[in-house]
């Protein structure tokens, strides 16, 4: 299932979008990607959101992003997202100032909880944004992570 299709199935954007996406090669009937690859190539936040086919998201306190205040090393920034929103079916992680902001998109099913933990690269101090899909609606939370250059590593 992909983010676009997710919304489609929930009736958010209608059946036409699926046909368009299939025609554009974004969705193939046999192998379904989590989010369309185009979203991962998007150069800014707005295009990445558009690429995922997500409408404007509502801020939610039920999404907790565990990420550092100051990254030890921008190449490995631990990020953990927990969503206690009922019916959480997808979590996307974006680093807003990255050349390509969309880092990863997770589709959860079959008992998978509203939780993912990973490590991301960050090129500059920026907001890390978590986008959660639950019950056909889109929610979000942000957390600023400062990235500095250097490191003694003693």
């Amino acid at each position: 299932m992909n983010a676009l299709r997710r919304n489609v199935l929930k009736g958010a954007t209608g059946a036409g979008a699926v046909a368009v996406a299939v025609a554009a090669g974004l969705i193939t009937p046999t192998r379904v990607l989590a989010a369309p690859r185009a979203a991962f190539d998007a150069k800014n936040l707005a295009d990445a959101m558009k690429g995922m086919g997500l409408p404007a998201a509502t801020d939610s306190k039920d999404i907790v992003i565990k990420a550092p205040d100051i990254a030890e090393n921008g190449a490995v920034v631990p990020v953990e997202v927990t969503s206690s929103i009922a019916g959480t079916s997808a979590i996307a992680i974006l680093a807003e100032k990255n050349n390509t902001p969309l880092v990863a998109d997770f589709e959860l099913s079959g008992g998978a909880q509203g939780y993912v933990s990973t490590r991301i690269k960050m090129g500059a101090t920026a907001l890390v944004r978590a986008i959660v899909t639950a019950g056909g609606k889109t929610y979000q939370a942000t957390k600023e992570v400062k990235v500095t250059i250097g490191g003694c590593g003693g």
Binding site: L102, A104, F106, L108, A112, Q113, Y115, T118, I120
Partner: protein, 104 residues
């Protein structure tokens, strides 16, 4: 040939805590080689899928922004000790890898 993943799956109450470490350079295609000054070609995992006893629990899309040797942690309610966890990835060059473990 892609190197094996490491997968740990342990029970915490009624939930399986699954942790995966993939072995992959995750080159964004935007980094220049320090010596040659040439761009290092993009080489990153684009898709990860995980199943418990054959049923899908997680399907992830990834960009080059995931760190080298990607780490992924997730939790599956209702799984039990002895369940088979399988994780697969595919990268942008078409290389792929599947590894398995059982919930301990």
């Amino acid at each position: 040939m892609a190197e094996p993943m490491k997968i740990r799956a342990t029970m915490a109450g009624d939930t399986a805590d699954i942790k995966v470490l993939m072995n992959h350079p995750m080159e964004t295609g935007q980094r220049k080689d320090a010596k040659t000054g040439q761009l290092v070609p993009a080489h990153y995992i684009t898709e990860v899928t995980a199943t418990v006893n054959g049923a899908a629990v997680l399907k992830a899309g990834m960009g080059g922004g995931v760190s080298k040797n990607p780490y992924l942690g997730f939790k599956v309610k209702g799984a039990k000790a002895g369940d088979k966890v399988a994780v697969s990835w595919v990268d942008n060059t078409g290389d792929k890898r599947t590894d398995e473990t059982t919930v301990g």
